[in-house]
């Protein structure tokens, strides 16, 4: 099978064309309907091996990749950095080579260092999905966010998304800005100057340091604010951050929707009254994570363009 089509990976949003993105979102929509059936498992990837290699702790990304693979009937195996040979100083390349001996079809990797998925892609024959590499990319998060926005607003083109918070340290923000640009939406970054990387405008987003800039947005996308940023003097205190940039009910305009990649610091970057309001899409994002990751696995392993028919997606 592999020899018949070019090997593809999902290492970053820039691996995707606009058509790829929409195809994956359409597939996710079809798969979401399958989840409403009594028997939620699809036979599509029976006999395939999806290996999750996680060097950072993760709740929602790992659980949704595991469940996505299981829902598609693939075999799954999960390796975490702690308690493995990684603890014993094994290099990433050696770990990848060892795991390659099991002939996995897909390796899903999360790693604290940028480019780790690229290294695994070079060291194995598997298709590689980047589940987060350092502060670089988290492409399935961007896809699930696009899916959530599209389902909620009915479109992506010209949607204005204000991304609020610590963009400097956020792979979610980088992937989302690229993803929004890919589908014709307009990203705006809102953050204190110390948490915006120099040169971010080059990615095609606008930048504002004032919270009232979110007024024009259709979507307010809130990033996690971490306590350790105080230590390096990025902002003086969480209290001041919250007062300047926290998303409170007063700052959300009627008709706006609010998103957050999780995990939330309630009362810091987002007021609980907003998180739990009707404007919040936060739990929708988690469900979107499952179907989008199913769609990504499906898309990689069934090689669209060569296998035009998609019979397994027929929904009763």
């Amino acid at each position: 099978m592999r020899a018949e089509h070019p090997r593809r990976h999902l290492l970053g949003v820039d691996d995707l064309t606009r058509d790829d993105a929409y195809r994956i979102l359409d597939t996710a929509r079809a798969l979401e309907r399958s989840l409403d059936r009594e028997v939620k498992k699809l036979p599509t990837l029976r006999g395939r091996l999806v290996l999750n290699l996680f060097y950072e702790s993760s709740t929602r990304t790992l659980s949704s990749f595991e469940l996505a693979a299981k829902r598609l009937s693939a075999d799954t195996m999960t390796l975490r950095a702690s308690g493995s040979s990684v603890d014993k100083g094994e290099s990433l390349r050696d770990t990848a080579s060892t795991l390659a001996a099991y002939d996995p079809d897909v390796i899903v990797i999360r790693h604290p260092h940028i480019g780790a998925p690229h290294l695994v892609a070079a060291a194995t024959q598997a298709l590689v999905v980047n589940a987060g590499d350092g502060k670089h990319q988290h492409p399935t998060q961007a896809l699930l966010d696009l899916f959530t926005i599209r389902e909620a607003l009915g479109r992506l083109e010209d949607v204005r998304v204000a991304i609020v918070g610590d963009v400097l340290h956020s792979r979610v923000a980088r992937s989302l800005v690229e993803g929004l640009r890919l589908v014709g939406a307009s990203p705006l970054v809102v953050a204190p100057p110390t948490l915006v990387p120099r040169g971010i405008e080059g990615m095609g987003c606008e930048v504002s340091h004032r919270i009232d800039a979110i007024g024009d947005a259709d979507v307010v996308y809130v990033l996690r604010m971490q306590q350790e940023r105080m230590d390096a003097a990025y902002v003086p205190s969480l209290r001041e951050y919250t007062s300047l940039y926290g998303i409170t009910p007063e700052r959300v305009r009627p008709g706006q929707v609010v998103m957050h990649p999780g995990p939330m610091n309630r009362g810091v970057e987002i007021d609980p009254r907003v998180a739990d309001s009707g404007a919040s899409l936060i739990t929708t994002q988690v469900r979107a994570g499952l179907v989008v990751r199913m769609a990504v696995l499906y898309d990689l392993l069934t090689a669209p363009g060569l296998h035009v028919a998609q019979p397994v997606l027929e929904v009763a």
């Binding site: 790693h111 260092h113 480019g115 502060k135 980088r174």
Partner: protein, 426 residues
């Protein structure tokens, strides 16, 4: 005794080529005769092959020989073999070894080893501070007596302005310049690449150009205050070049290096996430690169230094963030400069050749290689048209962490004569 090598032969040979000696203002076909290691005749006007250039051999003021301590990465023998293949007749080794070259006994041992192993005459520098910890001065007078050409904590900056001031003042006793790695650690902290549009996209922590230039300004100010010469290592940023230009005009005795990689490449290369484009200081923006070339042209940058930094294969075979800083450069310097600067018209050949040879020799007080009757033969024969591909198996260095792996370059070293001895012939 400033440069050391194993006792070489004194060769005799006749070379016919286009002779380019920037110091003498010579550029034209000639036949150069060497007898017993000394130039005995220079006959101008003879016919010569069009693409062959004979020039004074190169001097590298900034090489990491990794000896003692990391002989798996480079030895004096392998590093000087690499230098010979790169066209060098003299190289200067940095002291950030294990142990650090901060006592006369360590330096004596190195000099002895170089007498046995060095293919190309090699000079050594010693640390400014004990252990390069930036706290106490090394015994500079004794180290100078033992042969240290200059003092440097290269690999890290002298973070304390107070210590640098003392070192500058005391360097008058040792009568040697300080060579300074300019990096303000609280501005570069944790940075892996140039801070700019590419780092913003990749999410790699930035090492901003201001972290270098603010330290260049500080060091120039201290050198002026103490009225001592300094040599600024591996400059990478526009603001640094401009600071040196201003200080020179004001009479500060400062020489300055740029590396082939900073002169030829930019941070765009880091998009590949290849650990072999990770070095300190990092590759910078195109505007910085242009400023370095301007500095090269007007002499603000008077030395091209490779900052040859070998690393074990397994240490570079990892993610960009985990990989150590540094790339090799001795064997690719001329090919890179000829390909990226000379053939593109950015810099004339004679300027590049001057900054590779006479410039660094003057900066470190070494004899300037000249092509004239009675001079010792320090010659490099270059083929400006020959193409080659940089491959791992083509290196004499023990390490292969070149930023040019897989690239096709134009311009090769055909022959190197160092201190009267043919040390390399293609």
């Amino acid at each position: 005794m400033t440069l050391v090598s194993r006792n070489g032969r004194r060769d005799s040979l006749v070379l016919r080529a286009r002779l380019v000696d920037p110091v003498g203002g010579v550029d034209g076909p000639a036949v150069v005769t060497v007898e017993d290691g000394v130039i005995t005749a220079v006959e101008h006007g003879a016919t010569a092959p069009a693409s062959l250039v004979l020039a004074p051999a190169f001097v590298d003021p900034h090489v990491h020989l990794r000896t003692p301590g990391r002989e798996d990465e480079e030895t004096i023998a392998s590093g000087t073999e690499a230098a010979a293949a790169g066209g060098y007749c003299a190289i200067v080794a940095m002291p950030n070894t294990d142990p650090v070259v901060d006592t006369a006994s360590v330096l004596h041992a190195l000099v002895e080893r170089a007498r046995d192993e060095a293919v190309v005459p090699t000079g050594f520098t010693a640390a400014i501070s004990k252990g390069q910890r930036g706290e106490e001065l090394a015994e500079m007078a004794e180290l100078a007596e033992a042969g240290a050409l200059a003092f440097t904590d290269d690999g890290r900056p002298v973070a304390s302005a107070g210590l640098l001031r003392r070192a500058l003042a005391y360097s008058a006793v040792a009568d040697r310049p300080l060579a300074l790695h300019c990096e303000e650690p609280t501005l570069s902290c944790g940075g892996h690449m140039h801070e700019g549009a590419v780092s913003a996209r990749l999410g790699l922590a930035g090492w901003p150009s201001i972290a270098e230039s603010v330290m260049v300004e500080r060091d120039l100010a201290l050198a002026a205050f103490e009225d001592r010469p300094i040599h600024l290592q591996h400059l990478s940023a526009r603001a640094s070049v401009e600071a040196v230009r201003r200080a020179r005009a004001a009479g500060v005795a400062a020489s300055a290096e740029a590396s082939p990689h900073h002169l030829c490449a930019t941070d765009e290369r880091v998009r590949s996430l290849d650990p072999n484009v990770k070095m300190n200081p990092p590759l910078r923006a195109e505007d910085d690169r242009r400023a370095l070339v301007e500095g090269l042209l007007d002499g603000t940058i008077d030395c091209i230094a490779t900052d040859h930094a070998p690393h074990a294969r397994h240490e570079k075979d990892t993610t960009f963030e985990e990989a150590p800083f540094g790339v090799t450069g001795l064997e690719t310097a001329f090919g890179a400069l000829n390909t990226y600067l000379v053939r593109t018209g950015e810099a004339p050949l004679e300027v590049v050749l001057e900054r590779l040879s006479a410039g660094p020799a003057r900066a470190l007080g070494l004899p300037v290689p000249r092509i004239a009757v009675g001079e010792p033969a320090n010659l490099v024969l270059l083929d400006l048209e020959a193409e080659w591909v940089v491959t791992e198996d083509g290196f004499r260095s023990r390490s292969v962490n070149s930023w040019l792996l897989g690239e096709r370059l134009t311009g090769t070293v055909v022959k190197t004569v160092a201190a009267g001895s043919v040390v390399y012939a293609a």
